[in-house]
Symmetry: C2
Subunit: 443 residues, 2 copies
Amino acid sequence: MALRLGRLGSGPCWRAARGGGCRQLCAWSARGTSARVCRPPGTAGTLLCRGLGHSPSAGGGAWLGTGLAAALAGLTGLAAAAFGHVQRAEMVPKSSVARSPSPGRREDEDDLARRCSTFMTSPVTDLHELRRRPEDMKTKMELLIMETQAQVCRALAQVDGVADFSVDRWERKEGGGGITCVLQDGRVFEKAGVSVSVVHGNLSEDAAKQMRSRGKVLKMKDGKLPFTAMGVSSVIHPKNPHAPTMHFNYRYFEVEEVDGNKHWWFGGGCDLSPTYLNQEDAVHFHRTLKEACDQHGPDIYPKFKKWCDDYFHIVHRGERRGIGGIFFDDLNSPSKEEAFHLVQTCAKAVVPSYIPIVRKHCDDSFTPQEKMWQQLRRGRYVEFNLLYDRGTKFGLFTPGSRIESILMSLPLTARWEYMHSPPENSKEAEILKVLRNPRDWVH
Amino acid sequence: MALRLGRLGSGPCWRAARGGGCRQLCAWSARGTSARVCRPPGTAGTLLCRGLGHSPSAGGGAWLGTGLAAALAGLTGLAAAAFGHVQRAEMVPKSSVARSPSPGRREDEDDLARRCSTFMTSPVTDLHELRRRPEDMKTKMELLIMETQAQVCRALAQVDGVADFSVDRWERKEGGGGITCVLQDGRVFEKAGVSVSVVHGNLSEDAAKQMRSRGKVLKMKDGKLPFTAMGVSSVIHPKNPHAPTMHFNYRYFEVEEVDGNKHWWFGGGCDLSPTYLNQEDAVHFHRTLKEACDQHGPDIYPKFKKWCDDYFHIVHRGERRGIGGIFFDDLNSPSKEEAFHLVQTCAKAVVPSYIPIVRKHCDDSFTPQEKMWQQLRRGRYVEFNLLYDRGTKFGLFTPGSRIESILMSLPLTARWEYMHSPPENSKEAEILKVLRNPRDWVH
């Protein structure tokens, strides 16, 4: 049974949904178009929210959690692929405060509640808990990733103008959960996913070993290492071959050793994968990210830009996945607050770096050949994500992962042609050249 | 420059092609349809043969070679993806005997030449060399895989009736080479690839280590281990969602230790991945393979059938890739000859196990929904090949691999939908049930 939740601060709509008042509208469609309901004023797109009432199934809590945003987005105890839609449709009642403000209670009595009311749904962590520790980085980061999810989804829905975001809330047996928002087969977007996860528990020995291999030797107690990890992860695939694919993620990690010693770090990035090169778009995208980074130091953008080119490398093709952007990991300096502010600035740059580009090109005319080249580039995207992306691979190989949240990054459609090679001096050859030799876009 | 070679025993056509007499017909098309030339009597499909005159580029000869048919099919020093078609089109002159029988020489004077004349093109190894060692297993196996390639290509071309096989001959800098035949976007087939490779040289230490991890401790000299590996590997994706995808490969490996001690083994298999379950087809496929295996002992089919179900497992989905077939590796008993005869019988069973099924269904009517489900299953096929298939992964991560031969196994088109789950009791749910719980088809 699917329960609909309104969004964009529509508290009363939440209540109505929980009461089951519009169940007849809630059947979920694989095409994502039959669920268009409850269009709030001021937004073209609307949202369907489905919670998951099932207890998480598979066991295993092994979690690497460093630089693995997709795993972050996908890790939960629920093997969702095994369930039909009807089975997945119960709401998880967690906090009466979050979902049902007492009648008569004014939102301005509570800044936190007001802030949360702009999210796609209530945060993963109970509002009581968030209110109890307002200065804790876990609270700040969870609010940031929820806010980023809402900002991006709202902007995408406005551009699309037709299709809906489905909103899935899921829980992780071992602790925490997530919220996965997907818009599929819309007017502008082929597939757009924005997923939040906030998970905690104990790192397994295997996961801790992985961290040792990354230069961190952590003291465990009885083979356990308490951790918290959270992040927002997103991949946006537009339909029009002149509108590029965009990916971003921002994440935070905390781990506590047996002697009480705490480690923390941030990671993240944002990168663009166009089908065809558009110099102006590339400069706009990189310049927006550079301006964000520059607020925190002149060396940040060059370092993160190179890191991005190095990371999104389809080695067997000798190509980058796209024209890059920024990427970073293990960021734990100069201070927790300053690192957070950098992440916050970068997260805020997602919408201005990307939305103008997709808005500019979403109605461009294109030929079947251009569409086919886009599909071939989608194939390369799949190759990178399945063969190289650390988060995707780690998530898929970790028992208890939420497969659907991890693989929401894959395009709706992709193509592989044997020995395809574009003619010299073609537009297709032009972008390939850039993918093989990353350029400096802002100097 | 593309040079056309006739096939199916068309010796004179080879000569004409080498003379460049029909260059105007040889421009290679990404769609695979403009190259239809030189249709020999008795076959509806025709073939375009392109040789590769470029020296192999990338270095590295690391090669696992155990159970890795896709790597076998793809390993060469040529990073083909980096070249345009024009660049790849020179013929490699290797043996005047193979390609240009002396005028007046009668084919029946030479059984080997007559046998070779039925192949897609001349074998990888020079005919002088093959003639020198007729009883060597390397000769027997190379002729078997060349023969199997030709039989399968001929049968597929006849069923398709319209599209052509492109035939790429490639060389490996470190020794050996291969012949990759691909039919793309035909009437019946979306993509059909049948690739032969025959490679030799020295296994690197890394590759030898891999073999140790498989239970073989091999004594190297100066970090080197001479090896020969050869195989035929194929994936056939029909267009019609009621015609299943089929994969097979058969391979042979030899390695020589420093003390002259030789090891050898065979591997291979054949499996079916239908979009919809057809009980009759499944029984026919498995029964044909069982009859082949039963000629060599009653325990073989049950063992290889289970091995196949275990190997083609998309673990993160909890699904098998298809309804199985047979799979085996490290086969080195009861004797080299007997093992070869088993492989030979299995290879001969490919056409009768599959062609009647694809012929039966290639003109079935289907709905857009059925096509979409096929595309989703294609997505799963991609997931298996990129995430789990040992050969694909090893090949891709080995410097000097021929990427295009390895990735010819990927479908022309594929699809991923977020949270797709077919309705209960649907035809889609029926096949999923079988993919989750492999069945016994012949008892």
